[in-house]
Symmetry: C2
Subunit: 773 residues, 2 copies
């Protein structure tokens, strides 16, 4: 089947207007710059089905928790990402008739996401009843060069007219804060209007969120031109109403003429400025940009994207589907998080929808961090770590709420407070704490920034270890420590005992904390002493960590030689996904929850997640046995799942399987695989796609401080190539059928292990290594 | 510590006004007649803390289910019991000042629930600033003789006045439909006003619920008298506004005079009449009762209560605390359910609060049925069974929603649809299905109404057996059938495998269905054939039931010789309730849910519930071992729990323990043991209290069609006595220290087994049997 969106290496193209696909296209065509985000909805009014969404990083609403049976420790609220002021709006009227593609129905229609240059373009033609044909071009971007800035160029051409007279074209760029969240209870309104004004100089709408008291100002201005020549003296009308500001102008268009509106917007919030400055700052920025042309603003934006792609592109030859999918994923990752603000993080839907409330999950540490580590300067990944460090006190409060010691990082959070309220997740899916610790390990292993451990890491590790210590219980008959009542990464099991992955990562946390502590004590005794005093860390506690780590219980299936996902897993009816009616997939949409829970089916990598994280601990044989046991039962109904399976499949030599899993993940949203892309994109899992190639196909690891590769080329490809920023080295790795080419741009000499053999690469050197098979 | 409410054999007395206890007193002093219910709030306005609640049986609102993660099979709504029109209201103004006990603060105050005659009385005195003292008496009842009728007598006496002039007393009886539910989201309003009018003949308020479209009409009228003499010509003023209707009258009172207002109300709903008749029927009933005096109406009500007590009283000598507690429980049970309407059932809070949404739980079958069986004519219990029979189709739909066969009765329901939305309860607490089957068994065993099996019972049993058959899975290694992913009666465990109780009752259901089927085939082959055809019941299905029943898996702890509550229970840290900080109790208010779940602590009888239900199957020794193992870990945080433990304790000879458990249950609300009586009373557990005495202390069972007793007298008592209606026999059993006296009122000869020996009791005969120890 042809993909709905045209396959192109750098673009996503929708041809023809299909209203039933509009939400999907809106998600796919979302723009973002780490600060502003915007679904691909239309500038002009549209009365058909659409999920209009404009999102501002860090702006949320604390929706009250409503549950049937309130349990001690529940968070008071769950955070909602808020639909904010619509700043792209332009009322368009053609010869007195309001333009609305739901009623006009375009003849030609194309929507194009240009990933290379980071803009959304739209082209369509419409005809009125008199047979007059207009073509409309719209292009917009959220500036990667100046985050508060958005710009739109909207052109209307009168292509043909059977009538001699001119046609009055009216354009009315507006800011509209009368927006609601689609997921709001009873259409509740989360905003209070503070100011709306419209005048010659600007349109301005300022609003404040209820409860969370965020203040947002949007200021805009515009320029009109005819066939490229500015229409300076065209009279304008101004109107303002509640949370709404608009300017209007009309021009009598003749056949062949083009009227162009350039609208620029500046958006500021009280996350960056005091409340009383939010307005003036927006106007200040607007004043700076109003003097520049659309082209100038766009040039700066393009330059920034060029730089980004320079570091993070991943080229594939011979497989346009994969190429498009991968670039699409990398593009959205770079749109979502830029690493400039440690108060921000990555929500599973980024700026593309309301689902998951915009909060941060363990996805960041487990899936996204490697991407940013590999493709960005280290401060970007470091800011992701600092986000958690800055929330340490709240994580301690969170553990205390559950009667536990140390720190329990929230399952979902915006500002460090837990804001998810299902007990089996909030209270029990505690393996997330392990991912926070693992991210520290991963970051230091990759960057060698061991100062981070002195400055921040060890504190977090100690509090996480304290949590595990208070959460385990000792089973005297078995002389083992256990973790009862948990939910593992596979959320299709709840409240199980001794989830293997959770037990393993808990013990690993203790071990890594012990190692880190010993290392700090060794390398910086003074700092170690002051940290221990500050943390009130006693020797007995450290001894207990060692004891728990050594005596952790791990369920194991002797006959099968595999780790048991949790106690009692073997009592289930063990069948494969292939054995059930394929119409039942996805199970989450077709099976009741109890049926899912008592089935053997696995939502996402669980035991295999552990084999991926702690890859060095396990033999290939062990990985193979576990993969062969668990993969056939895995439904991959979390978008996070296929990439981890792909990496392990690649390692154990199941290359075909690895490729299939990769492709599924890479094109999940483009092909709307789970029939849910209309709600927003699976941003965090996009990083998994990148990992599938770099960690999977290229076999990238960091061992003993060296980058290690074990690349192969999937048979579907002719070649692939990616960049890595590793400890100051800028490497480009190109994998062909028979050889891998390593190139270092500038820098100093660098050792890279390829298929077990160390290679030295000098500055600007390229070396070629034959592939072993 | 002195109980807050004065101890009295037939009354509950609150002396002195304690605003902080007002909600508790309002719950305790609730009135009900199976059709109307009313918390004990004040007639006059009260601006202090109060939970004003007026409830109408079967009137509910389907509140939208809001969950973080929607799961297939969730019910669309959960039912809310609705606060309905306040029909007791009387505005009172004394010398121009509105009477409000929050601002006036009474000098003397007494609120008395008269359980013997079923009315609520209140007496208080207030003084105004001029030193004028008034005493007010209020008495009200919800007629047990005519369910639509409520009546209030409200008297105001000017006791003393230092001023010579008369004082203007204004009374304004009103109906007020401007009520909300306290548990409503954002103060949502569930009612639409249809009509409000006030005139010489009546006040009337008619309202309709949103969504569920129930129509309710309240019509009232009143009479005023001075010192017992009607004030016929006193001018009245009438006012009506949205959902509000009031009449007002004033009288200049002199020292020593008493002004009395008798207000009568008739309430009808479209549950009984077509929408267009609801108003006229209310007025019709009002017209019938308006000619009668308050005393006449009250006499009829008292007679009905006398009759009720005649059948259901349980007398205790020597222990006023127990006596009051027991009567309080019996009183409320009789207020809540009368068995006249098979569309109604018993909610855990009856008519005393909003909690639990007024829905029906398995409490009815497991706890309430025995009380109504023992104290009422059989049709009352039969109507409880028919309630479920009438919901069979909906229970089948419910099972189908979960992808299962047969019938799964809802965990909570009003009209047969599931209306509880926590997956661990709704989808997994499936043992409730067993209680529905057990109730059939219990009813037939007690009443010998085996026709019920032909007519209704077998159909329900077959569908329940089909459910279990589709819910089990076969474990080939163990060659056993298992039930994975369930929640047992102990809701402090969720999603466990092989809850012993659930497995046992599932197998028992199959067995009982097989037995019943065989019995019907034997005794009525024609009916059996038509039932089998109607149910499409094949021999293979019956064979499978036998197989599953025979091969059911039961977790067992060999070393301890006890049934294991569920797989893995033994891995918990097994400690006793006494070993934890007593300040942590109740755990549900102090421990986070995950901590409760991974602890060994048991909310309510679970294994012991099975030992109680299937008492004959287990030896005393087995019961003792299991009791000694589980009782110390049981926190009894469900009000249903202590009674079952008390019954088993009594049976195994732990009499002191049995008494303590009984007393806790009996006075749970009166002593506000769980600090939650203000939210409403624990109605369904009240039946457990009755069972503790009758099944526990008196050792009542039905074996081989005979009533069997094994009574003993708790050392705290001098004697106790109760009535039983058993298969047409009216028995009175009086247990003393050394002997038990059996008396049969009227009837035919009856065999009763006492401590293993069969006794024959003739009509109107009394026999005395010495107690063995």
């Amino acid at each position: 089947m042809e993909p709905y969106f045209k396959v192109d290496q750098w673009k996503v193209i929708e041809s023809g207007f299909h209203p039933e696909q509009n939400r999907v296209a809106e998600s796919i065509m979302s723009l973002g710059n780490g600060y502003l985000g915007l679904r691909g909805y239309f500038e002009e009014r549209y009365s058909g089905d659409s999920l209009q969404g404009t999102y501002l990083a860090g702006i949320y609403y604390p929706d009250r928790t409503v549950v049937g049976w309130w349990k001690v420790g529940y968070p008071e609220y769950f955070a909602k990402v808020l639909n904010a002021v619509n700043f792209i709006g332009i009322d368009v009227s053609l010869g007195g008739l309001s333009l609305d593609l739901h009623t006009w129905r375009p003849e030609a229609f194309k929507r194009v996401l240009n990933m290379q240059e980071g803009f959304l373009a739209r082209f369509f033609t419409v005809k009125d009843k008199k047979g007059r044909q207009f073509s409309i071009k719209a292009q917009r971007f959220l500036s990667k060069a100046q985050r508060e800035l958005a710009a739109i160029r909207y052109s209307i051409t009168l292509d043909k007219s059977p009538c001699p007279e001119e046609i009055e074209i009216e354009v009315g760029p507006f800011l509209d804060g009368n927006v609601i969240n689609e997921d709001a209870n009873y259409g509740e309104d989360f905003w209070i209007g503070l100011r709306a004004s419209s005048s010659e100089n600007y349109q301005l709408v300022t609003m404040q969120t209820k409860k969370s008291d965020f203040v947002v100002a949007a200021a805009s201005t515009f320029r009109l031109s005819l066939d490229g020549k500015e229409l300076k003296d065209l009279p304008r009308r101004y109107q303002e109403s509640h949370r709404f500001a608009q300017a209007q102008a009309s021009y009598p268009l003749r056949e062949g003429q083009t009227l162009t509106l350039d609208k620029v917007v500046a958006i500021t919030t009280n996350r960056d400025f005091p409340n009383w400055e939010v307005n003036s700052r927006a106007l200040e920025i607007l004043n700076q940009i109003r003097t520049k042309s659309y082209e100038e603003l766009f040039q700066a934006h393009r330059r920034a994207w060029r730089q980004t792609w320079e570091n993070s592109d991943l080229r594939i030859k011979g497989d346009p589907l994969s190429q498009q999918g991968l670039r699409f994923n990398i593009f959205h990752l770079n749109q979502t998080y830029t690493g400039e603000d440690p108060r921000l993080n990555i929500g599973p839907k980024g700026f593309t929808g309301e689902k998951y409330g915009g909060g941060t999950y363990w996805d960041t540490e487990a899936y996204c961090l490697p991407f940013y580590l590999g493709t960005c300067e280290p401060h970007v990944a470091r800011n992701l770590l600092l986000y958690r460090y800055n929330h340490l006190e709240k994580a301690k409060e969170n553990a205390a709420k559950l009667g536990l010691k140390g720190a329990l990082y929230p399952m979902v959070t915006v500002n460090g407070e837990e804001c998810h309220n299902e007990w089996e997740i909030t209270f029990e899916e505690i393996h997330r704490n392990g991912a926070i610790a693992y991210a520290i390990f991963n970051y230091v292993r990759y960057t060698d920034d061991s100062n981070y451990l002195y400055e921040y890491g060890l504190e977090v590790l100690v509090e996480i270890s304290r949590f595990w210590t208070s959460r385990v219980n000792f089973q005297p008959r078995k002389q083992k420590y256990m973790l009862l009542g948990v939910t593992g990464p596979n959320e299709y099991e709840n409240n199980v005992n001794n989830n293997w992955y959770t037990n393993r990562i808990a013990a690993w946390c203790l071990e890594y904390t012990l190692d880190t502590l010993a290392w700090v004590e060794n390398s910086n005794p003074g700092r170690a002493e002051s940290l221990k005093t500050g943390l009130n860390l006693k020797d007995e506690e450290v001894t207990l960590w060692r004891e728990i780590k050594d005596k952790m219980y791990y369920p194991y299936l002797e006959a099968e030689g595999v780790f048991e996902q949790q106690d009692g897993f073997r009592d289930k009816e063990l069948i494969t996904v292939e054995q059930i009616d394929q119409e039942d997939l996805p199970l989450s949409q077709n099976w009741s929850w109890d049926r899912i829970l008592r089935s053997c089916f696995i939502k996402q990598a669980d035991v295999l997640q552990g084999l991926f994280f702690f890859s060095e601990e396990f033999s290939l044989e062990t990985k193979k046995r576990n993969f062969d046991f668990y993969e056939p039962m895995t439904v991959h109904e979390s978008s996070l799942s296929p990439s981890v399976h792909a990496i392990i499949a690649a390692e154990i030599g199941s290359r075909e399987k690895a490729y299939q899993l990769f492709l599924r993940a890479a094109r999940l949203d483009l092909d709307n695989y789970n029939n849910d892309s209309g709600e927003g994109l699976h941003i965090t899992s996009m990083a998994g796609t990148w990992m599938s190639v770099v960690y999977g196909f290229a076999g990238m690891k960091v061992c003993g401080g060296k980058l290690s590769l074990a690349p192969f080329l999937p048979r579907q490809w002719q070649e692939y190539s990616f960049k890595l920023l590793f400890r100051g080295h800028r490497l480009e790795i190109t994998v062909g059928k028979k050889q891998v080419v390593l190139y270092q741009k500038g820098g100093e000499s660098c050792s890279v292990v390829v298929h077990g053999k160390t290679q030295e690469i000098g500055p600007n050197q390229e070396i070629k290594i034959a592939l072993p098979f």
